[in-house]
């Protein structure tokens, strides 16, 4: 279906909630600040007025209990969406998420379901620091019984949210703060993006870049420049981390012979490890070169922008890996890096775009 309409990631999420709540009275949103004037970075703007404060429900500061409350309410036909303004806060609720929600259906022999969505925002930039900028998707993705999604474009932001709300299982929906301002085509009305597979964000034949969340943006930046310098990268937006379906990655690697993973979390025991391991197990002989992983540096996020260079993976780092794999000449590599830097201009390192001025 051709669809010209463009929305921001923020507006796409908002539209998903509007539709979900209109379609099903059982759906309600809960969390700290969901009904306040900032409306969770505007993703819920106008919804308290439209649906009432009992369906966009402020909560006390009580992450663990609120998760259990959502799960309890879900037993009687409600479909709660719990929101935390930072994934870091969800660490207070892993008992209810991992011990209870993830196992609910299984451990009661299938008689119960756990249709809850937990929406978690990954912070970055403007000095957020160690406790407001973690990207903890690996922790969730490791746990059977959960589903874990990370949209990277507005279309998926909406489609995966609608799918998550419709799903009868607990879905962890991780959204990156730096995606909120991005724009892209978004179909009107209700549609579900299946919680099943990666998305081919850009087709190419020379190297496979499997990325998550905001790193898809970096990967696409890299791929555009690489294209100019004669190397066609295929960018896969992993999008669904659990259940992870590696088939599309494997298919791509069979074509390209080269694999680079780039994700927003820490590398050790991270998303890239699973992707690389799955490919190594299932498509070993397709790999022409050792695979490479890019991830956030293996330490807590520092606050000062002076300490940020080198912390997050970038398009430039991706191009560096492509070069190391022997897929670019030295000249092409130098040219690609120069082009990237020119494109970036003088944008400070701690914001995604000039409009982002903190404080959160």
């Amino acid at each position: 279906m051709p669809e010209a309409r463009e929305l921001t990631f923020t507006a796409a999420i908002r539209e998903a909630f509007d539709i979900a709540m209109s379609d099903d009275d059982g759906v309600f949103v809960m969390g700290e600040g969901v009904a306040d004037p900032k409306a969770v970075f505007n993703t819920l703007a106008g919804l308290p007025e439209k649906f009432g404060k009992h369906r966009v429900m402020e909560t006390p500061l009580a992450e663990n209990a609120m998760t259990g409350v959502a799960l309890g309410a879900a037993q009687l036909g409600r479909r709660p969406v719990l929101v935390h303004q930072r994934v870091d806060f969800a660490l207070l609720s892993l008992d209810q998420i991992i011990n209870n929600a993830a196992k609910w259906h299984y451990m009661y022999g299938g008689i119960y379901k756990a249709p809850i969505v937990i929406r978690l925002i990954i912070g970055r930039g403007w000095g957020q620091g160690a406790q407001h900028a973690q990207s903890l998707e690996s922790v969730f993705a490791h746990i059977p019984g959960l589903k874990v999604v990370m949209p990277a474009c507005p279309q998926d932001a909406k489609g995966l949210m609608l799918a998550a709300i419709t799903d009868d299982n607990p879905v962890i929906y991780l959204e990156h703060r730096w995606l909120h301002g991005t724009r892209g085509p978004v179909p009107e009305g209700r549609y579900l993006t299946p919680i099943e597979q990666p998305r081919i964000a850009r087709a190419g034949g020379k190297v496979t870049i499997a990325a998550t969340s905001y790193m898809v943006v970096e990967a696409l930046k890299a791929a555009e420049i690489l294209d100019i310098f004669g190397c066609q990268a295929e960018v896969l937006d992993l999008r669904v981390l659990r259940p992870l379906d590696p088939a599309m990655v494997i298919q791509s690697v069979r074509k390209t012979g080269h694999l680079i993973t780039v994700d927003t979390g820490w590398g050790k025991y991270g998303i890239g490890a699973e992707v690389v391991a799955a490919v190594a197990e299932q498509a070993f002989s397709a790999l022409a070169k050792p695979p490479a992983r890019l991830a956030t540096a293996d330490y807590p996020s520092p606050s000062s922008m002076g300490l940020i260079p080198g912390y997050y993976p970038t398009a430039e780092a991706i191009i560096g890996e492509v070069f190391k794999m022997g897929l670019l000449t030295q000249d092409a590599f130098d040219g690609a890096v120069a082009a990237l830097r020119a494109q970036k201009g003088t944008l400070p390192i701690d914001v995604p775009d000039p409009k982002f001025t903190g404080p959160f």
């Binding site: 006390p60 011990n99 299982n169």
Partner: protein, 323 residues
């Protein structure tokens, strides 16, 4: 406090005796090593379970923790499915998935039991939220122990229930111990129920071994919660007779004295109730014998059912991971 008619109590004696006999049967057979999961017995604590559940309506809901047999049975849970679950059989209430610490019987409103201490509290509050959102008249009973309320999640849940005036009845069975650690090593010297008062809840405190008192106080508390006046808190003092987990007596191992235990024996909720009923002429020796006979038969049948039931098929272990 409401007076409880002694014929009400008579009906409840059966429930107390039944739970006692079920748990004694479990204790007796546990050494056979066929119930291969942890068991937390409520022997000595039955009155709280029975009194509270008697004050609840059939379609009210209940959640519990690790020590849930009595709550499950008092609320009307299926005995056969419970015993089969302890035996790990396909006919158990979760088909062997959960074991003794995850009893469940939605048919009677026994919504769930969970062994992570405090883990079922917010579940119960969430049920109450949904009931209120749907304007349904039920209340939710949440059984906790004296240590359970040390967990932060109790307070988070209590506060939420209070601010939303949810129909929740917190029931704390204060048996003085958390595993082998005495209350005084874990909490300051103040009435435990003050914690609930801090959350603005009305509180009832009673002798958890006196079924009449439990029932009377529970009725008042339940009425309050059902009237939409928000959550309430019941604290019942009682005592666990056997070890924390498992079938044995353990007064010799050193965390409590034989004397302390002996001081609770005369307070046995079952014996007290029986004495009261006998004194009121409501329970003859013959009645009691008949009752015991009936219950023994029912229990024997439940064990037989469990033992005759198949284990779940290992090939199904990977089913129903996702709904």
């Amino acid at each position: 406090m409401t007076e409880i008619a002694s014929n009400d109590l008579r009906a409840l004696f059966r429930d107390v005796l039944r739970i006692r006999m079920v748990e004694e049967a479990i204790a007796e057979r546990y050494a056979e090593q066929e119930m291969r999961c942890p068991v937390h017995l409520s022997i000595g604590q039955e009155a709280a379970a029975v009194g509270v559940c008697a004050a609840l309506d059939k379609d009210d809901l209940v959640v519990s923790g690790h020590r849930s047999h009595a709550h499950y049975l008092a609320k009307g849970g299926d005995l056969k499915k419970m015993i089969a679950e302890l035996y790990g059989r396909a006919t158990g209430c979760t088909g062997g998935r959960g074991g003794s610490m995850h009893l469940v019987d939605p048919a009677c409103g026994f919504q769930c039991a969970l062994p992570i201490v405090g883990g079922s509290i917010p579940i119960g509050v969430g049920l109450a939220l949904a009931l209120k959102q749907a304007q349904r008249p039920q209340v939710v009973g949440i059984f906790v122990g004296d240590a359970t309320i040390e967990e932060g999640v109790f307070h988070e849940s209590a506060n939420f229930a209070a601010v939303h005036r949810l129909p929740v009845v917190f029931v704390c069975e204060n048996n003085l111990y958390s595993v082998y650690t005495h209350l005084s090593d874990r909490q300051p010297d103040r009435p435990l129920a003050d914690l609930a008062r801090g959350h603005g809840m009305p509180v009832w405190r009673g002798d958890g071994n006196d079924l009449g008192q439990v029932l009377a106080q529970s009725r008042e508390a339940v009425a309050h919660a059902r009237a939409g006046q928000g959550p309430v808190f019941l604290e019942f003092t009682t005592y666990r007779w056997r070890e924390h987990c498992g079938p044995n007596y353990d007064n010799h191992i050193g965390y409590r004295t034989e004397e302390e235990f002996q001081s609770w024996v005369p307070k046995d909720p079952m014996a007290q109730l029986a004495a009261k009923l006998r004194a009121a002429g409501q329970l003859t020796a013959a009645d009691e014998e008949r009752l015991r006979g009936e219950l023994a038969a029912e229990i024997a049948a439940a064990f037989a059912f469990a033992k005759a039931s198949p284990y779940p098929d290992a090939a199904t272990a990977g089913d129903k991971i996702y709904a």
